[in-house]
Point group: D2
Chain length 496, copies 4
């Protein structure tokens, strides 16, 4: 079922794989893609899609798309059709509205004069509306509201395609990047190559891994070189389950070509003079899996640092430190360590129930005690109240709330679905006396400065240690993060 007018930006995950060496190899590309995508499932649960190509002189694409989780969307018998692929890309999508559209499911595949291209996109084009007009003025009818289709048609459109010459993909991708500044992490598959592209601000993550022969995965006795390959993913957490090693990040503005012959940096498109990189700080705070690595540091460690920083900024007179399971556990442990207080569990999760009634109180652990509850963020402010009430009814003497990120106040136009300004608790009158409103003894947030230092201290120390790959483009190495949802300062003019 599909309807008009959703067009809301979304958080997604992209993943690609190219078998190394002579094709066909023993590397089961479709299986690697599926496992890699499952590891990105937290970035999107609405729909999933996969495209593989078995290349040769007449490359044949096999496409599989479906609603829901990867395990639901990809039926085992359907996956069989993809098994001859030597390379492929896949995508998982976040449900941003009640309306789910199979038609908007990525990767988007179109036929061109030179064959099929497939595109998977994570992000949201800030100037999508203007670009749609430009494409439609050219006489193209757009069949979906997705940025992915728009990107695909833009790639097909400019420069004009000639039957006699192979398309110059670097030129086409550079042209696309000249038409839209952010935000996108893209995978473009054409014949035997996957192009991995990150926008000049590096707003969305993208990194490369190397598949090395692992006996437990491939016990078939295949030669070493036969099971090698390259993968590219929104997050490095997807590497472990497929036996891949972290190789490096795609740099902001970089176009990387991944082929059977290896990984090659084709170009790094610079940002406008003076602009800093703008990697989304909420990937650290909330979205990413804790075992992923961004900018050389593990997300878990950054979250723990946020908890330590929070303990420094907002101490509390309490007996025990705990958290709402599970995403804020590292911050809570950091807070407890910094503060020298015991970390305990206060809530037991029922994974079979919805949010409202899913917690049981572990009464004995905190009855008669003053509890500091560390959370990673408070968005609408309606889930924390019943938890505080539950803890107090179960005997907590006091409940202090500490939030390991600053209040969210502004919308995101770069790929994150955030409630409307009016729905955000930080913009409501109740925020003035939030502790009372949610029934807590006290509430305190991490400052923007505190968050930035918790994030950037690690980057800085990392950069001194590392030999970063890339051109002489100094700007891409300077530190900067997008904090628009906290500060209202967007990395680019929104009417670009």
């Amino acid at each position: 079922m599909e309807f008009e007018g959703s067009g809301i930006g979304e958080e997604c995950g992209v993943f690609g794989c190219v078998a190394a060496g002579e094709w066909p190899t023993q590397l089961e590309v479709a299986q690697v893609l599926t496992l890699g995508l499952v590891a990105l499932q937290h970035r999107g649960q609405e729909s999933a899609g996969i495209v593989t190509s078995n290349v040769g002189s007449a490359p044949t694409y096999a496409v599989l798309k479906g609603m829901g989780l990867v395990s639901t969307a990809f039926a085992p018998e359907a996956l069989l059709k993809l098994r001859h692929g030597n390379l492929g890309i896949c995508h998982t999508r976040y449900s941003t509205t009640g309306i789910s559209e199979l038609q908007n499911c990525q990767p988007f595949v179109v036929d061109t004069l030179h064959g099929k291209i497939a595109v998977a996109h994570n992000g949201e084009l800030v100037n999508a509306e203007a670009l749609r007009k430009r494409v439609m003025r050219h006489g193209v009818g757009l069949s979906t509201s997705s940025d992915s289709e728009l990107i695909t048609q833009l790639l097909a459109l400019t420069p004009p395609m000639e039957e006699q010459d192979a398309p110059d993909w670097v030129a086409r991708i550079k042209n696309l990047m000249s038409e839209t500044p952010t935000s996108y992490s893209l995978l473009v598959m054409f014949k035997d190559v996957v192009y991995a592209v990150r926008d000049p601000y590096g707003n969305r993550p993208l990194c490369i891994g190397r598949v090395v022969p692992v006996s437990k995965l491939h016990s078939s006795g295949a030669g070493v070189e036969d099971t090698e390959g390259w993968v590219v993913s929104s997050e490095s957490c997807s590497f472990q389950s497929i036996g891949a090693k972290y190789y490096r990040e795609v740099l902001p503005g970089e176009i990387v070509q991944i082929s059977r012959h290896g990984v090659k940096s084709l170009s790094v498109v610079p940002r406008p003079e003076g602009d800093l990189p703008a990697f989304c700080i909420f990937e650290y705070v909330y979205f990413a899996r804790p075992d992923s690595i961004f900018e050389g540091q593990m997300v878990y460690t950054v979250r723990q640092r946020c908890g330590r920083q929070l303990a420094i900024e907002a101490p509390s007179d309490a007996d025990v430190v705990s958290t709402v399971p599970e995403s804020a556990t590292p911050a809570a442990l950091g807070y407890a360590q910094q503060f020298g207080l015991p970390y305990i569990e206060v809530l037991c999760k029922n994974r079979y129930l919805g949010v409202a009634k899913k917690f049981g109180a572990l009464t004995d652990n905190f009855a008669g005690k003053r509890v500091v509850l560390v959370d990673d963020s408070i968005v609408r402010g309606n889930t924390i109240s019943p938890i505080i009430k539950l803890l107090k009814e179960a005997g907590a003497k006091e409940v202090h709330i500490r939030v390991a990120s600053p209040p969210i106040r502004f919308p995101c136009y770069m790929g994150i679905n955030i409630p409307t300004k009016e729905e955000l608790i930080a913009n409501k009158p109740e925020f003035q006396d939030l502790a009372k409103y949610i029934g807590a003894a006290s509430v305190q947030y991490l400052t923007v400065e505190g968050l930035l230092s918790a994030v950037q201290d690690g980057v800085a120390s990392q950069q001194q240690k590392d030999q970063l790959i890339g051109s002489g483009n100094k700007s891409s190495k300077r530190v900067g993060h997008c904090t628009a949802c906290l500060t209202g300062k967007y990395p680019v003019e929104l009417e670009w």
Copy 2:
């Protein structure tokens, strides 16, 4: 799930409805569309799609598509979203391959500079490959293998769309018709209008009906004018269940505009000098529902005439006449009447079983008798043998086969899915002694001349009686039918 390379032509059904008078009216357009489409279900069971528009200054389209029968594809709760529509079009598709693709499901809807257009298509463009190249050369990436997307992009492309001017749809449709001669019956919805278009050869059927207030359908006491409207359909059999009356056929080459203000013939694009119309003769023989009306005559009557003609051409020395239920019953009755033989039933159908074992023999009716079994066509020749065997084992003295159409020998490139030339029994060595091969006492077919006279005698007599609507375009009134699958004579050069 989708795969490469199906691209096979198909038989489909299209249906549209526009409420008359001031909008919104009491006419439940979505309900009319659904019922109308169900009545065309015999033309396609693979997938179904429906688009309605509630018009106004910013028309909002609601789209619903699904695999399988209309009743499966359109869940009742999903249909609710379409209930405010004042006009709409829908489509049902025939499964021509094992691979079913939701993506190829029609109507195809795209956004253009001036808003959305929706296209539903029955037929197959003879020059689709060349047209795809032309569109892709323009920089358009094609996301499906369907002719419907191709038609939609062609309509968007030429003449160039200007933001300031409303698009001239007659010009755009005429341009499309100048680029492809056949075969298509099209419905194009744009804002508050449905354009109904038939190719100059009239290869696929399309006719118009008028919805008049019927108390049993609308007992809500709505004013008369509130429940009026216009419908357009592949076959008139869909009119009765929705309380519509047959109005007229869309003529070969005609572009008809259907709006709240009524039906208006905008143009009739002529055929090349000397070319006759080429309405598919197999719509009469097999595809259409017997209560549909083409060229002024009821399909059932034509089939009965085929049976009579067959009795004249191929009499048989037998005791009783019967048929394989149910499509050949009119031909069998015609044969029996012409011949003065009793018509009996010899087979009892089990509607819960597949073809192979679905018949029970009504032994007492024919034991010891010579039976003429009239069938409408023999395609592969593998279903009639077990039936003959069954009848003989159950006591039939002799079984004579009479076929109420000529042997099928050639492929169709205009919308009908026919087995390959090699699979057709008429092209096999066994055809030389077919009676022996299938175990019959004798086999005889209707001649091409006999079929044409059975079909065209009715048209001729009809034309003398009728006041046909249309311009002075004489050629569209002359009689002619496509018999390509029987004779190999295609109405247009295939390399057009």
Copy 3:
């Protein structure tokens, strides 16, 4: 989902199969059972169940049950588990209420001291309530409202079961028959034997067939004796699709043992002095498939005789004879033949639509003519009116209704689900002027005497020809039929 209090009698179908000779044989018993059951699908569409046994010293039963049609209820992979069976029974059930209960699905299987027994039942015990009390008084809790469970527990109960002796099944079944007079056709499977039982009144049908080697079914080159077997079925129409030949009916009151060694009549329990057999006359009129054989005559032939008799009793001044497709076609043909009027088709069925709107009028066939429409029965009187209206709107000059059975006026307590007395049109005031009420020019029914003579003339002539198997029990051969729903005369006291 299940609920209290449905307990409504139902029409069902039973089928069994035993492979002949040494086990295991090549006969695919599970496949035979499934195909046989599909051929009885018209007797019940709510649920289906199958039990097979692979016998040996420790017989292992495999049971498969499901809601809906046989094809839905028996998934292919689930059927695999039944493939080693050497004998088995199965059952299909009619949906008598909106509430479907998997728990009531037959065959009913219970474990006893001597092993499992399985029971499949067609019919309805007239004294079920009293029997339930008797069983429960013994301390047995009944888990369903189905007669099948009741029968099973009664078989387990009396005489008392002793661990040391094998159960005497003839004694147990005779005891059951002494406790309830009618109606039941039963299949009881225990270890390596299927007992086929018909109540002394023969109210429900049951007949035996013999599977003989058919090359097309078993091309595996198995020896002749390996593919032989016996089948038992509610109707003989199920024999053809499995390659079985009609052998004989189970007689009223007969207990037949079917084993690998063949078919053996164990006993014929007599009716009370003076009682006639009471085979349900509606099996002839409506329920059975036309190619089934009861009492030596084909159902189709009986229906045709009803039509002839109706023509004699209720002629009409008309031009053409037709019918509402499809069940009344033989009666209509009989009427037309007797009367010398042409038989035509007036309605075209859309098999994708519900009753209300499923017919299209074949206008040309009857416009301006007086039509006699022969139907097999009028129950509630609400489906014939719109058809008459449709025909008249399409141009019929007059529509005369002739019904090939008498009016239904009374409930059935013996296995047929009939609307309540109040719902039956024959009990309503409107019946006084039925023609006017339904919009017909005239309405006439077949008389009870006419129906009985149409049915029994064939039985009589058949009995003179046949060598009926059975004991000297003369009463079982005398002619008699249950006409309770027409006359209110039930074959047994209902408070038995």
Copy 4:
């Protein structure tokens, strides 16, 4: 689909609710039952069943059963049929074999002379085989392999049921208890009463809660007494989500009557002289939810005590303490606290993946460190190896395994599904050098004595504080637990 011979004992959950005061009340019994059952979902995910009664003079039972989780098994529209219930019981079942049988789904409901009874059972009768024979010798056929049916038929059987007298349920339940010693926690619903029964050894848990008016649950302004009621559950964790307060445990051997008038202890059946209670110690170790209360102590606290005891018995020379998420977290925290080592997280869970690949390593947390990994049990020994390997590859210097329970060596015949003796790692040769086999630096288990003291210290201190309800039956208060799976000492002779 069902098959022979599973008959394996299982872990299940039972739950019941009775509205207090005059019926009908505002208490939504069906909703309370559903929520209560969801909170017991961890005790069984194979199937779920619910029975409610709306009582009155002719009580009507509504039954709903289905496969899978409660949310899947109970469709919202189906639940509507249960909404008038004033009392009810429900059950969730654990999948012990690959074969799932809807027929074995509880509660089991049968009709008796005095009306329907419904039974829900958690446990496994040690003498089920002998009892089945006894019931079948009486002439009862058993339709399932479930103990629940057996219990129901035993309750209906003895003493003999008389039509004139209401059944004496205490006598019937006592008779049942005299025939089987353990293990069962039972709910028996008859008309307007639920009987809650626990076997004399108290092997399975059962406790009572009181529903009190909670504004957030019932904002309809109903009177206080209208929303009161009683609940009974396998575990107290189900009380919180339905607004109920813990009231007390059902004692070993106790028969409690729960009606609209309140909770009444009818009898406490004693154990044989000298026998101790035998509550399953694995409910503490693994099965129960950590926020449940048994014998006056919270499960979480007991697990934490196990961790502390383990630290005393099996210290380790390490840097950090961690666990495999999530069930062993309390033991790990207890170990860390006792030992004064920092507790950290080493693994990140991907809840979208199966066991094998579901963990990501939080490298930075433990690289270069010696890790103690506390687990709650090692059953087969095949899941811990890959985790140890993962940690070592990610940089752990040493991995020491500490198990917070003793090795499992013996089968359970009282309701817990345990792998066969041969599959248990503690019975394999590899156990001799387990550390080497699983790749750990060292492995140590908690002793049986240590486990018993961790469990029973709390019970003892609890008993001194509490006023336990019950008769003078001293034995029921003495401390004892079933450790059969660890020691092979079963609480009763198995050939009872």
